[in-house]
Assembly symmetry: C2
């Protein structure tokens, strides 16, 4: 790393964040960083970008205020700059949230790279491209990393962090720690997978939903209701793996896979199932065991029930 | 319908429910119906069935009590019968929740059919078989219907109701109304689709998750965290369709599909995407419009934000 690393601030010392691209995601990031007490400088090439950005921040602000602002946080600490170089020149961290267009991203990241001090980490909100595909024209590809948020970035905690082939491992670690300090829930991936993790999962669901609409098997409204009133009530409480851990009764995931494994051959989705090898079976069973971390099935059932009730009540759906 | 229908009680007049099969799902149903003030008679061939059933009901009872029991509801209104005929003979409604084994279900439904008064509706909790596959050996196939719940049936509102080829349309309507009266959120499907709706969607996600574990792309814990801290926080509030309606900014689903449509060709899941024809595009856009029912994007954003905050707070994840 050497000289490039010499002046990079510690993750907890970041004071100014540059948001490059100020649409729904970039504007949401700007609102989030402002609420967490950062100075935010934004740039976007659209003619009405500043107006739209300030609308997005205003729209997010009641939610952020309700959640509690950091000391000194304020919307007056947002500055819009019409020139990219002026936006990133004083930043300790850059978050790029341009439209999802590979050529555009490649060029924009090179432009950012050219005008951002080389020790500053540049993170992309891309929802599916790998940094290896995007960093090729940068002179300093080592500081380019993916930090993929979920809409709205000011409320959904998850950020997936993953580097490209030319990204420094230090930068992946620094970025993960920066987002943690900034209050996010971070998954650091050790390899590039198209769509990362959560987007692959929701994309599989989304594609099946589109197939169902295309075939007349379900309406848009039925699809949404089937999730909001069904499995969607469990997922903020326990993920899909722990959910199925409990579907196996006292036998947990082991029972589930050993008994329902054959249903993987059923045409329950257009996605062909993984081959349930003994290795995969064991990986899933042991993963659930690690995640349960000593909690019994009864413990997990009680946690789930408390969580689902809390969610239902929070949404005003039960007294 | 004639004679068979002559003595069927109205959906709101059901007093006694028979639960055939008393595992995690059947026991969960028993607990739910007890809490809603029904008399419940249960049968299960396992030697320790009654003990397990009473454990399941006891485990569910604190949650059900917290949500509020119906007048007169009580666990003392649960009766276990060692003979199937004694369990179903006095029931106004039968819910079958046997293991997911087609041959077993076909035989069990025929057994139930033989000893249940012919006017009584028999509903199956099957998570994926169509009633057409299961009702073949019944003398009264017209009263056989699928009523598919989600685990735990005593907390998750959704029930998917769908008949088989030989099911009477009256029975589908009666069953939908019965579950509504009993407090469930009902989707009535007009055709059989393997896995119904919600299970197809969560199965697509589950299969992609298994592929990721099999390929070493993500751990079990990362998969769960990616959902509980990511899209899972939105799904109890707005389903996948409305979620993406908001991903398009002010342009909504139309903008989303017109701009992100090409990403359907990306390898973001192993599920091949639907062909985004103009017809499919319009069906999805118009469906979101119907579901929004006059609410603007800003209205929906505000609703989502209130909902996600309520969920986060309910789960103790924000102050």
């Amino acid at each position: 790393m050497g000289a490039e690393n010499a002046t990079r601030v510690a993750p907890g010392e970041v004071g100014t964040v540059a948001c490059v691209g100020a649409g729904v995601i970039g504007g949401g990031w700007a609102a989030y960083f402002l609420a967490r007490g950062y100075d935010v400088v934004a740039w976007d090439p659209a003619p009405d970008a500043e107006t739209r950005l300030r609308h997005l921040v205003d729209q997010a602000w009641p939610a952020l205020t309700e959640l509690g602002l950091a000391d000194g946080a304020g919307r007056d600490r947002l500055r819009y700059e019409p020139e990219l170089g002026d936006a990133v020149g004083s930043a300790d961290f850059v978050q790029e949230s341009a439209p999802e267009d590979l050529e555009l991203k490649i060029k924009l990241l090179a432009d950012i790279d050219a005008v951002t001090p080389p020790h500053v980490v540049v993170s992309s909100s891309t929802s599916g491209f790998g940094m290896s595909e995007m960093q090729g024209r940068c002179d300093h590809p080592g500081r380019m990393v993916v930090g993929h948020p979920f809409n709205p970035p000011y409320l959904i905690p998850l950020v997936e962090v993953v580097g490209g082939a030319a990204t420094s491992a230090d930068v992946v670690a620094w970025t993960s720690e920066f987002f943690r300090v900034a209050g996010k829930s971070v998954i650091t991936m050790d390899r590039e997978v198209p769509g990362f993790i959560a987007n692959r999962l929701q994309e599989a669901l989304w594609r099946e939903a589109l197939h169902m609409v295309a075939e007349g098997e379900a309406t848009v409204e039925q699809i949404d209701l089937s999730i909001t009133d069904g499995p969607g009530l469990r997922w903020p409480v326990q993920g899909p793996m722990l959910t199925f851990h409990l579907a196996g009764g006292q036998g947990g995931m082991a029972h589930m896979l050993d008994h329902f494994g054959p249903s993987l051959k059923s045409p329950w989705t257009r996605l062909v199932a993984a081959d349930l090898t003994p290795e995969l079976r064991d990986a899933v069973v042991h993963g659930c065991g690690r995640e349960a971390a000593g909690r019994s099935i009864d413990d997990l059932v009680a946690e789930r029930d408390r969580g689902v009730i809390a969610v239902l009540r929070a949404l005003g759906r039960v007294p």
